[in-house]
Each structure stands twice: as structure tokens, then as C-alpha cells.
Symmetry: C3
Subunit: 141 residues, 3 copies
């Protein structure tokens, strides 16, 4: 991971073999980012996604391996109990251009990935909702 | 819908049962947002999309029901004749990760949705183009 | 192409027959944009995408013609040897809502396209990596 900050924007380049979620977590910890909007693209050879099952309140996860273009990364960085919490959804296309996607669990970069983390001054927390089964955004932090 | 404003950014959490377009319309009215960029993600059990037919100049709409991850919401808020006008496109993945998408007509939230509305100082209008059949962006407002 | 600048944001409307990459290149040249985040949507009748093959180090390109909603454009503008360099990935849905996507080579607009280019003060370059086969982001410019 290489990056540079321009005002509130972190321009990030991930390199071959690096993983999206763990890299961004490292960035947010190091740079003390508490709240941010995240957008990006890239190329990946392994993507793990989750689809939330509202009945079981669990993510069903699937791993895809191949030659993929990450057609979009959209999400946010917040904090849960002070810890960096990333919530990013991914779309990715295969060699025929067919797009799959879901809640991003992990994505390993095969060539490069370019991500913009736009820091927002402020703080937003997370709290597990037993009703929903997810760590929902909390504004009272 | 719960939200908080941080500088020009509205961080929004939609709850189970709420609908994306009507919620964001309410936000833009209440907060007097005339121009904004919108990005987001979530989980939905009902998505209605339109695909614009350039011959008939109408949207063919389709309703999908299931357990979906909203893999991206990308769009903008403007005004048409003073009224809030939202233009958002959606991608959403099913339980196998297959992604569908189009012009967002409505999406009902099944678990949660997290949207960032970045207000832009300024104003952009809309006007129906009889040639195209759409309410196109107008800069002379 | 019509556009207006509001602070650091260019709100862009592309018209029928215009092409996304060449239009944005023209914008970045004319407005001297060296670094920017790009998001957008639209409707297109022709999309050419590439999927990067990490073995041959070449993009395999495919052209799709039909009635498509551009469900997301996500990317950035940088510079390579002083020249505008756009890196944008696209998702687009067909009449059934099935989404395809990849590295955007070109997309011709059939009805309209609405793109936000958010200029970031600063400069980021590109350099061909012989190892990867791509023009990777370079921060030492």
C-alpha cells in the first residue's frame, strides 16, 4: 500500500497480493481516520462476499477466484468501540464482463487497486442490533 | 431514517422497511439541499428499476424481490421547478452474488442502508427534453 | 457536454452521441484538472470494456451494444507525463437488469449522462510498471 494525503483525501494504491479491507483498516488506524467515504476500483484474483440473510441474521459468504475487474468499491469507515470499522460493498466483473457483488469480506489485488478515502471531520459509531443482527450506525457517540 | 450532518456531509442510516428514494427526498426537503452527490450501500428485499427505452422514451420497469445486497447507489440530488429531484442508479446482488441494476425507482430496506449525501453549494435544475424524453440537467436556473 | 463548476465540483451533463472518456479528458485538459475523483451514471448504447489479463499483461476488450443503464461510473483523473489520464470502471445493466462491467474503454451516451468530477488539489502521476503491465499511480511527481 502506498498513499498520499491531499487535504482530506487519501489517494491509495494497493499492490499485487495486498488485501483491500485489511489495508484500509491499517490506513485508518495509522492516520486516525474516524469517519470517511470510500470509493475505488481495481483488479482482483480473489473476492469473498457476504449476502446477509435477514432470517438467520448471518452473512452467507462465497469465495470467487478468477481474473476480475473490481468495477466498484463503495462504502464508509466508522468506529465501533473505538476500533476502525469498514463497511464496503463490491461489484466485480469476470472475463466475460458478468458482474457479481455483495458485502465485501476480502479482496486480494492481482494487479493494482486505486481507492480514495475522503475523511470527514466527525465521528460515527456502531452498535450491534440484536433485532437486525448487524452492527448499525450510531450517531450518539 | 436517522442522520447527522458533518460539514457538508449527511451520514444517513435507513432502517428496515424504509424506502431509499422517498427517504432521501424527505432529507433534501428538510435540509434544503439543492445539489448533492450521493453514494451508498445496504440490504434490500424489494428493488424496482427502470431501463430507459430511447425509442418509446419511457422507462421499462421491473420489480425484484429477494434477499439483496445493494452493492452500490450512485447519483445526485438536484431540483426541478424548485422541487427535490433525485437521480440515482443502483446495483444489487442476489444470494448467489449475481448483480442486477438500473435506474432506481424504489428500494425497500430489509436490514440497513448507509448513504452519504455530500451537499454541494450551488443549484442545478431540470427540464424535460421532448427530444430525449428525460428531465435533463439544466445549468441556467 | 455541458458543465458547471461549484467550488471543487464539476457537474457534467453528457448528451446523446457523446463519449464518456473523451469528454472527461477534454474537461480535465480545459479546466487543468490534475487530480480528481469521478462518479456518475447514465444511459448508453455502446460500451467497450477491458478485463486485464495478468498473464499476458493486456486488456481483453469486449464491445456491447444495446439499451443500457450505466449503473455506476467510479474512478479517478490523474496525469501521466503531464497528460490527462483517466481510470474509470463501469457497471451497466441491460433491458433485463443484468449487469456487466469492467475497465471502461469507451461508452457512447444514448440519452444522457450525469457525472461529478470532484477536483482534489494536488498531483498524482502514472508510470508503466513492466512487472504489472499497467500504468500505476506514482506519488513522486
Amino acid at each position: 500500500m502506498e498513499y498520499r494525503k491531499f487535504n482530506d483525501n487519501y489517494i491509495i494504491r494497493l499492490n499485487k497480493g495486498e488485501e483491500v479491507i485489511s489495508s484500509l483498516k491499517e490506513l485508518c488506524e495509522k492516520e486516525d481516520i474516524k469517519l470517511a467515504e470510500i470509493t475505488g476500483l481495481g483488479a482482483s484474483n480473489l473476492v469473498e462476499i457476504g449476502v446477509f440473510n435477514i432470517n438467520t441474521k448471518e452473512y452467507n459468504t462465497k469465495v470467487f477466484e478468477g481474473m476480475f475487474e473490481i468495477t466498484s468499491l463503495v462504502g464508509n469507515a466508522t468506529r465501533k468501540d473505538g476500533e476502525v470499522y469498514l463497511h464496503i460493498h463490491i461489484n466485480f466483473g469476470d472475463e466475460d464482463g458478468n458482474v457479481k457483488g455483495g458485502h465485501l469480506v476480502q479482496s486480494k489485488i492481482s494487479a493494482t487497486s486505486e481507492i480514495i478515502v475522503r475523511k470527514i471531520e466527525g465521528q460515527v459509531g456502531r452498535k450491534l442490533s440484536s433485532e437486525i443482527g448487524l452492527n448499525l450506525i450510531q450517531f450518539s457517540v
